[in-house]
Amino acid sequence: MHHTIFFDNASSTRTDARVFEKMKPFFMQKYGNPSSLHDMGQEAKDAIEEARDRGAALLGVAAQEIYFTSCGTESNNFALWGLAKSLQDKGKHIISSSIEHISILNPLKELKKQGWDYTLLPVDSFGMVNPEDLAKEIRKDTVLISIMHANNEVGTIQNLKTLAKIASEKDITFHSDGIAAAGIIPMDLKDLGVDAYSISSQQMYGPKGAGAVYVQKGHRLKPYLLGGTQERGRRAGTENVPAIVGFGEAAKLAAEEMHIHAAHITGLRDAFIKGIMDQIKNVKLNGHPQKRLPGNVHISFEYIEGESILLLLNMEGIAAASGSSCASQALKNSQVLLSMGLTPTTAQGSILFSLGKFNTMQEVDRVLEVLPAIIDKLRKMSPLYKEE
């Protein structure tokens, strides 16, 4: 395991050792329930509040605007449902995009069953939403817009500020799924002008088991998990203290070190892309040439299918992904790629290499060493490929 080259940071990141150190005491020493009145409860509560401060600092918002959840999916479900339910007397139309994560798209379908209506905006071949499209689709009863910040598959970063401005001019609440972006690229949510934002710990070298929703003060937010008064009544359930503490530390480290890592990762990414382009024919880089996540290398290899590429990479100790990991076992073609206009056949042969702060140029070189032969082997097996 330890020699795996992990180019799948979009699915999961290694917990930073400093984050883990910070979490450790909360399992066997500081194990109080944050709702308990006694010192051990208060100690846990203080730790959560410190984590909240750090999460808020990363996003440039106030601590009391942050609500912790158990994962990115819960953040998205909660934000959509909690905002939609709070706004339902004003209207029941939601606008989102066709490249959203399934933890946005599926709740939208459920809301539709419950009487809401929604519109999904198209994207261009780079995966960008056109602000004019957004303006056009706004209706009298549009109360909520949810457009992701960075796409987890192709890495495209939206012009969030422009989109949020259109919403705010019409007094429509604007949410963004920032799970692939937070902790990776710098941001100031107040400057971006979004009303609500979802983030997740495990995408930024924090542990699994913690997510958060930012909701700007003044917005109503109906709780999704119901029960006790945790998170000021917005999210019931005993807090996952160690994970939240780890999330806080990850946010602090991200705020401090993000620019260094981004430079490092961008360097790897660009070298890797150039290496692939130089050595392998009939490949296509998906996503936006400039507005992309630092670690995103999303490539379509013509004539062959993604899973078989992944398998051969895996045999070489290289971990990568095809499409979104939550769907990768389902083998469905990526809606994101189809929305960007790829043919189904090309979409089938797409691989996401997602680089992270722990990756090195040696690893990039090693992958570039084995990748051409893998692609060649599979192409030679493919009925679609005619040797030149």
Partner: protein
């Protein structure tokens, strides 16, 4: 790695009989790249036996392993014997396939049968 058996991994990593037969006696094709799997089988027939089999496959690990296993199972068999090989037999020989692969990727026998039918059609005239 996924839930593939040792046999699947073996056939995927070292597929038997990959290739084309230029002057094939029969060709069979199933699937299409849109749904993720496509297999083309080429056969040479002599004395009602499969003298040679080659395949080309676009698809996942299972699809490639299935193609390879079918070619191995059928090699040298009579056409009737080959026609009696089912997709289920192939999956069994491979030590089983993950449930979500049984449907789309397990079409090797179909492709081979198509090639045999193609041969028969051409030779029934």
């Amino acid at each position: 790695m996924v839930e593939y058996s040792k046999q699947v991994i073996d056939h995927f990593m070292s597929p038997r009989n990959v290739g084309e037969i230029k002057d094939a006696d029969g060709i069979g094709e199933v699937g299409n790249p849109t749904c993720g799997d496509m297999m083309t089988f080429y056969i040479k027939v002599k004395d009602h036996k499969l003298e040679d089999i080659k395949f080309k496959t676009f698809g996942c690990g299972a699809a490639i392993a299935v193609s390879s296993m079918v070619s191995e199972l059928a090699m040298g068999k009579t056409l009737d014997e080959a026609l009696s090989i089912t997709n289920k037999d192939v999956a069994q020989k491979l030590g089983g396939l993950p449930k979500n692969k049984m449907h789309c990727s397990n079409l090797g026998a179909d492709a081979l049968h198509k090639a045999i039918q193609d041969y028969k059609q051409k030779n029934e005239k």
